[in-house]
Amino acid sequence: MEHRLHLLVCAGTGCVANRSFQIKQKLEQEIIKNGLQDEVKVISTGCQGFCERGPVVIVKPGDIFYQQVKETDIPLLVEEHLLKGRPVKKLMYKPSGKEPPVQKMMDIGFFKHQRLIVLKNRGRLDPENIDEYIGFDGYLAMEKALATMTPEQIIEEIKKSGLRGRGGAGFPTGLKWEFCRKAKGNLKYLVCNADEGDPGAFMDRSILESDPHLVLEGIIIGAIAIGASKGFIYVRSEYPLAVKRVKIAIEQAQDYGLLGDNILGTDFSFSLDVIQGAGAFVCGEETALIASIQGQVGRPRPRPPYPAESGLWGNPTNINNVETWANIPGIIQKGSQWYSSIGTENSKGTKIFSLVGKINNTGLVEVPMGITLREIIYEIGGGIPNKKEFKAVQTGGPSGGCLPKQMLDLSIDYDSLTKAGSIMGSGGMIVMDEDTCMVDLAKYFLKFTVEESCGKCTPCRVGTRNMVDILEKICSGQATLDDLDKLEFLAKTVKSTALCGLGQTAPNPVLTTLRYFRDEYISHIVDKYCPALVCRDLIEFYVIPEKCTGCQRCVSVCPTGAITGPRSQPHNLDKDKCIKCRACYEICRFDAIAGDAIRIKSGEEA
C-alpha cells in the first residue's frame, strides 16, 4: 500500500547515540495514536552525514529536514506536520543566529556543495533491507559485469576510470587488480579493509553502516575481475553496528544467490566472511592485516612480496579499502568516462571526509576531488565556531600533516596533498582554531603512534618515543634549539627508514608543523611562550582584579582549592596550588567588559 508520507529517521551511529531509535519508536506511537499508520511510514536509514545536528529526521516527499529532534518534540511534529501539513520551523536547521531556518535538505550549505557517488543512497534506504538497495538499482552493476563483461574488460574499465585507492596511499586500483589477476595461483583472496583507526575518522564505518550492499557489490565485481573465490571483510570490533549490518547484508545476498556457489546461475562462485579486528591501528597496514586474519599478531612484514603475489596463506590477495570498493558499482554501471569526468587530472571521482574538530558542521561529506580546503571548511563545514580564527587543518589523521591558513586554497587531490607534506589518508579532516598549540598537537598525534606502534622496527618503536620525549621537552620549556635539529633529523630518519606505512608516516605531523609553524616551536624554546596558551608548563593563570566580580563560580569548580576569596570581591588564585586544569577559565562568564576575568599568560608576560 502506498504511503502519503515517509519519515526517514537516521540510524547512523551518531544519531543512534542521540536516541534516534527511541525517536523512531515514539514517532510510531504518535502516528498510531493519531490514526495515521496507513498514511505515514517511518523508516530508519543509514547515516545522513550531518552528525553535528543529529538526530536527523527527513520527511519525504518534500525533503523537509528536521534536526536535533528530541523525543519531546515528536507530538508537535506529528500534529503540525503530519496532520496539519505545516512544517515545524523550530526543528529546522538555522545557519546562524539571524538567518531564517532552511526547510529543504538540499538548500543547506552542508549538503548543497557535496557530490554523492559513494554516499548516493545515504539516508534514503534501510541498510538492513536488501530489497531497498535493489530498488535503487542495486546489484545492476554486478549483473552487468557478470553477464556482459570479461574480467579483462572490468579491469580495463576500472583502470580507465582513474580510481585510486581510498585507503591512503592512492595506488591505482585497476593496476592493483591486474597484478592480482595475473599473479600465479589458483586460489585468490579479496579483502575489504575496514580497519579504520584514525582518531576522528568514520567514513568506512558510515558506509558499512548505511549502505553495506554497495560495498558487497563492489567486492563481488572485484572478485569477478580478479578471479577470487573467497573474500574477507576485516572490520574492527569497535564498530558493532557495522559488523551487524554487514553480516545481515551477507546473509541476504546469500539468500538471493548473489553470494555463494554459482552466482546468478553462472559458474562463478564467491563467498564472503567478516573478520573482526581487535582494534590495533597497525592492522590497517595490509601485511599486518593479513597476519591478523591468519590468526597471528598484527605485525607488518617487509614488502615485496606484495599481497598481490603472496598474501593470505601465501596466495595472491587483493586488499582495498571500503570506500574504494564502494566506488566500483558506480563506475561499472555508468562507465569510466562518466567517472573520470569528475575530479582532477590525476585524482578522479569523489572523496569522503569526516569533518571534525573546531568546525560548525561536524559530519561526513563527499566532495569531488579538486575542491579546495576553503570550500570544505567554510561552505560545507560552515566555518569555525565562536568567531575564532582558523589555524590549521590536519588531513589523514596521525599519518597526515597539518596544513596552515595559506594552504586553504589547496586543491584536494593525492598529489597536491603529498606535495604539501600531508597525505589524503583515509579521509580524516580535523580543523583547528587559534586555541590549538601546534607543538602540543604534534605531540598528541605522535603519542597515538607510539601507543599503536607494533614494536617491530627500531625507528618506529624507539624513534617515535624519542620524538615524543623531545616534544615534551619543548612543551615544558626545557628544550634548546639543538633539540629542534635533533627532532627534525630524527623525524626524517624515521620517515625514511621505518618498516611500514605506520612508521613512515608517523613523523608527518611533526614535519609539517615544523614546516609551517616553526615560529611556534621557536617561541616555545626561546621565549618559553606558548602562543595558543595550551602547554601547561609555559602558562600561568591569573585573576584580573578589575574584572572579577567575586561571583565564586570559579571557586566552586577549582579542584584544588587554589582560588579563594569572599563573595563580591576579587578572588585570589594561589599559583602553587593551581594545576592549570582550565576549569576556572572555562566557567568565568565575565566577558561583559573586555574578556574573561581569568587570564592565561605565557612567556615573557607571565
Binding site: T458, K486, S496, Q504
Partner: protein, 773 residues
C-alpha cells in the same frame, strides 16, 4: 646475475637478497636482525641501502637482487641514518660497555667481568666482548648517544632452568622468537604486547617449562646481546676455542662443538657459527654435558674402603691392592659390568684385559635385557635420520620426544608441517603431538592386544576399529611410510612381545623404520665385546659363584650384591648404599680421545678437548698398569695399539634372549583406576643419572617423581609437589607429585634410577591418594 655494489660489478646467484650478495662478496653491511636460516625480518633497519630506481632506503636483508641492479651500501646519508638508528637501539639498551671513556683500560685491567661489575656497576652483561652490538658500534664509530637512555627495569628472569633472561638488554631483533618458531617449530616464545611495551617470552606469563620449551638453547645461541644467557657459563666470558666433538648421551651421537676456556669445558653448542646456529640439539647435548663434566662431586683420587670410611690412596698402592685380589683368583669368579657409554678404546682395553690378563668371560652390562636386545635387532634396519623427512607418512610408536631426540622430532615436525600425515601412538604428549593428524592413545592395559589387532587386520583383513582402519588406509596409499619407534617402552613387561608384533607389522606393511636407541655407545659395546645377558651374570652372583665385581661405570644395584669385593672404576661416585671396596677415578667425556659407534654403525672419533684433572689415570693406564703388575704385557694397552685392534666393520654380537617369568598384566579397574608406566632412566652417563648432575634437567623431567596429567590431578584434587601414596595389588610406595601435560590422562609416569621397574608389572594398575588423608 650481474649487479653493481658500490661501483663494483659482480656476478651473483639468482633469487638472493642484496645482503646475501654483499656477504658473498665480502662487502659488509651492518645488520642485527638478519639470520641466514630465518625469513627476512627487516626489523632493525641497519642494513638500509640505496638502490637506483627504488624509492627510499630499502633494507638489504629483504630486497632481492635484480639483473643490473645498482646498489650503494655506503654514503653519508646512509651512515648518518644508520648511526641514528643504532643510537635509538642503544637508547633502549644499557651501553656502559660500549661507550665508556675508560673502556679500553678497563678491559685490559679487568680480571673477570664479574669482579669489575661488582665494583663499578657497569660491566654486568654476560655477553661482553662477544657481542654483535659492540662490533657494530665500533664499525659505525659511535662515541655517544644523543638520546636519553631508557632503562626498562625488568627483573632478570631466572626461574627457568639452564638459561637466564635479562630483557633489559633485549633489542627486539626477534631472532629468538623466529628461530623457536621457524627452525625449532616450538613456538614457545613470542612478542607480547606491542610498541614500546613489547616484551619477549611465552604468552600469558607462562614459564618456559609450562610453555612447552624444549630447552634446545637456540634462542640463547643466536641472541646478539646478552639478553639470553646460559646460567652455567654466564660470567665465563668468551671461550678460548671451539672444538668439534659429538654428544655421548644417546645413540644419535649428534655433532657438536665444545667451548673451551683455560683448559675447562664451559659449554657445548651445535656445529656451525656459534652465534648463528642453534636448535639442532636436545637439552642434554646443549646444556647437560657441561654440567656433567663439571659435576662437583666427581671422583678425583683412588679410594679404599676401610671400616672407618674411605681412605685416599696413591695410584700405585691402590693398584697393587687390586692386583693382590685378582692375581690368585679364577677369572670366572669375576663379573665385569660395563657402561654403554664407555669409548671403544676403553671397551677394547677391557676386552684384552679380560681375555688375556684375568681370563674372565662374565662380561655384561646391567642394561642388557630381552627388550633391548630385540630393539637393537630391529634397529639394524634403521634408515638414516635425515631420511625421515622424506617420508610421505610417519607413524611414531611410543616415541617420547620430550627433551630427547631433537633431530628425529625436528624431522617429524618439518615433514608434518609440509603436510605429511603424522600419527602418534602411545601415551605421551610430546613436542610432535601438535603436528599429528591423529593421536592414538592406547587403552590402558590393552597395548599388546591393540598391536595384535592391527597386525591381524593387515594380515588377514579382520575387523578393526576405525582408527586402525584409518591408519592402515593411510599407510597403504603412501609409497614410503616410515615408522619411528621410541625406546621408552622397553621396560614394559610385555616389551618383547610387542616388539615382535611391531616387527611383524613392519614386515607386512613394508614400512621403513627408525628405532631410537638410548645410550651413547651401546652399539660399540655390543659390537666389540661378547656380552652376556645380564640375567645370566646375575644368576651367577646370586648363586655365590662370583667373588669380585669389576664395574666400569656400571653399578646399578639397588643393594650390594653378595660378593666379596667390588671395584668401581668411573668418573662418578657410586649411588647410595653400595659401598665399593675400591674406587678408581677416571677422566670423563672430553678429557680423553674417544671413539663411539653411531646409529649407522660407523665409528666416530674425537680428540680430547681438555686435559683431565691432575692425578687421573685413564682406563687404559689403569688396566695397563694392572696387567704389568700381574706380569703381563702392558704395551697392548697403549692407545695406539688399542686403535689398531678396532674392527674394520662393526658387527653386532647380540646375546640370546632369556626366558623370564611372565606376570599377568591387569587392566585398570575401579579399584586401581590409573595405569602406572615406569621407565628406568636412559638419561645417564656412566653410572650417574643426568638428573643428579644437572639440577635443571631434574626440573624438566623429574626422576622418582610421579608425573600426572593436569586433568587427572584436578579430578583427584592434587597439586604440584604433594606427597602421594601409590598402591598397586602387591605394593605401595610414596612419591612426590608433578603435574605435567607430557603424559596423557589416565596414566601416571614414573622415571626411576633403579636397576629395574619397582612395581610388580609394568605397566601396573594403581590408585593414588594424598598422604595423611
Amino acid at each position: 646475475m650481474n649487479i653493481t655494489i658500490d661501483q663494483q660489478e659482480i656476478d651473483v646467484p639468482d633469487n638472493i637478497t642484496i645482503l646475501e650478495a654483499a656477504q658473498l662478496n665480502d662487502i659488509y653491511i651492518p645488520n642485527l636482525c638478519y639470520h641466514p636460516q630465518l625469513t627476512p625480518y627487516g626489523g632493525c633497519r641497519l642494513c638500509i641501502v640505496e638502490v637506483e630506481g627504488l624509492r627510499g632506503y630499502p633494507t638489504a636483508c629483504t630486497t632481492k637482487v635484480k639483473e643490473r641492479m645498482k646498489i650503494k651500501t655506503k654514503s653519508k646519508t646512509l651512515n648518518d641514518m644508520r648511526k641514528e638508528i643504532l643510537q635509538l637501539i642503544l637508547s633502549d639498551h644499557p651501553s656502559g660497555c660500549l661507550l665508556c671513556d675508560e673502556q679500553e683500560e678497563c678491559s685490559s685491567n679487568q680480571v673477570t667481568i664479574r669482579k669489575v661489575g661488582a665494583t663499578t656497576g657497569c660491566r654486568w652483561c654476560p655477553n661482553d666482548q662477544d657481542c654483535e652490538l659492540q662490533k657494530i658500534v665500533e664499525y659505525l664509530e659511535i662515541k655517544q648517544i644523543i638520546f636519553p637512555v631508557y632503562y626498562q627495569g625488568f627483573p632478570v628472569e631466572t626461574e627457568d632452568p639452564f638459561f637466564d633472561r635479562d630483557y633489559n638488554l633485549c633489542i627486539y631483533c626477534g631472532r629468538c622468537v623466529r628461530i623457536c618458531q621457524e627452525h625449532r617449530k616450538s613456538e614457545v616464545i613470542t612478542m607480547n604486547q606491542r610498541g614500546k611495551l613489547t616484551t619477549i617470552g611465552p604468552p600469558y606469563d607462562l614459564t618456559h617449562i609450562e610453555g612447552g620449551c624444549e630447552f634446545c638453547g637456540a634462542c640463547v645461541s643466536i641472541c646478539p646481546t646478552g639478553a639470553n644467557f646460559e646460567k652455567s657459563r654466564k660470567w665465563a666470558g668468551p671461550p678460548d676455542s671451539y672444538e668439534p666433538s659429538f654428544c655421548p648421551l644417546c645413540n644419535l651421537n649428534c655433532d657438536l662443538q665444545v667451548l673451551v676456556k683455560k683448559n675447562k669445558i664451559i659449554g657445548t653448542l651445535p656445529p656451525g657459527d656459534p652465534h648463528l646456529s642453534g636448535g639442532d640439539l636436545c637439552v642434554k647435548g646443549r646444556f647437560c654435558i657441561n654440567e656433567l663434566i663439571n659435576y662437583t662431586q666427581r671422583e678425583m683420587t683412588p679410594k679404599l674402603k676401610r671400616n672407618y670410611g674411605y681412605q685416599l690412596m696413591s695410584w700405585e698402592k691402590s693398584i697393587s691392592e687390586v692386583r693382590d685380589i685378582l692375581k690368585n683368583l679364577d677369572g670366572e669368579k669375576i663379573a665385569i659390568y660395563l657402561s654403554p657409554e664407555l669409548s671403544l678404546e676403553e671397551l677394547t682395553a677391557v676386552k684384552i684385559f679380560s681375555s688375556e690378563v684375568i681370563h674372565c668371560s662374565n662380561l655384561t652390562s646391567s642394561i642388557i635385557n630381552n627388550s633391548l636386545i630385540k630393539l637393537v635387532q630391529l634397529s639394524t634396519m634403521n634408515i638414516p635420520v635425515k631420511d625421515i623427512e622424506k617420508a610421505d607418512c610417519i607413524i611414531s610408536i611410543f616415541l617420547n620426544g620430550n627433551y630427547n631426540y631433537a633431530p628425529v622430532t625436528l624431522a617429524v615436525k618439518r615433514a608434518a608441517e609440509r603436510g605429511v600425515p603424522y600419527y602418534q601412538i602411545g601415551w605421551f604428549n610430546d613436542t610432535t603431538s601438535r603436528f599429528t593428524e591423529r593421536q592414538i592413545i592406547l587403552k590402558p592395559g590393552k597395548e599388546k592386544s591393540w598391536f595384535k589387532k592391527i597386525v591381524n587386520h593387515v594380515d588377514k583383513g579382520g575387523s578393526a576399529s576405525n582408527e586402525i582402519q584409518e591408519l592402515i588406509r593411510v599407510i597403504k596409499v603412501s609409497p614410503s611410510p616410515v615408522i619411528i619407534l621410541g625406546h621408552q617402552f622397553i621396560d614394559l613387561s610385555e616389551g618383547v612381545e610387542m616388539l615382535k608384533l611391531i616387527k611383524r607389522f613392519i614386515e607386512l606393511t613394508g614400512a621403513k623404520i627408525y628405532v631410537s636407541l638410548p645410550y651413547g655407545n651401546l652399539l660399540g659395546l655390543l659390537g666389540v665385546l661378547k656380552i652376556r645377558h645380564s640375567v645370566d651374570v646375575e644368576k651367577l652372583w646370586e648363586q655365590n659363584e662370583i667373588e669380585v665385581i669389576y664395574s666400569f661405570g656400571d653399578l646399578p644395584f639397588s643393594k650390594r650384591p653378595p660378593v666379596k669385593y667390588i671395584i668401581h672404576q668411573s668418573s662418578y661416585p657410586p649411588s647410595g648404599d653400595i659401598k665399593p671396596d675400591i674406587i678408581f677415578p677416571t677422566p670423563t667425556w672430553g678429557e680423553t680421545d674417544a671413539c663411539y659407534v653411531d646409529d649407522q654403525l660407523i665409528i666416530k672419533k674425537f680428540k680430547k678437548v681438555v686435559n683431565p684433572p691432575e692425578n687421573l689415570w685413564s682406563c687404559l693406564d689403569i688396566l695397563g698398569k694392572l696387567a704389568q703388575e700381574m706380569g703381563k704385557d702392558s704395551g697392548k694397552f697403549k692407545s695406539t695399539e688399542i686403535m689398531k685392534s678396532f674392527p674394520e666393520q662393526i658387527k653386532l654380537n647380540l646375546p640370546d634372549l632369556k626366558k623370564v617369568k611372565k606376570e599377568k598384566i591387569y587392566s585398570p579397574d575401579s579399584d586401581y583406576p590409573y595405569l602406572l608406566i615406569e621407565e628406568v632412566t636412559k638419561n645417564r652417563f656412566l653410572n650417574i643419572s643426568i638428573n643428579k648432575t644437572s639440577e635443571g634437567f631434574d626440573m624438566i623431567l623429574p626422576q622418582q617423581v610421579l608425573i600426572i596429567n593436569p586433568n587427572d590431578a584436578e579430578k583427584l584434587g592434587l597439586t604440584d609437589y604433594q606427597t602421594v601414596i601409590v598402591k598397586s595389588r602387591n605394593s605401595s610406595k610414596v612419591y612426590p607429585l608433578k603435574i605435567r601435560t607430557i603424559i596423557q590422562p589416565g596414566f601416571i609416569y614414573l622415571i626411576t634410577d633403579e636397576e629395574k621397574p619397582v612395581f610388580e608389572t609394568n605397566p601396573c594398575p594403581v590408585h593414588i591418594r594424598r598422604q595423611n588423608v
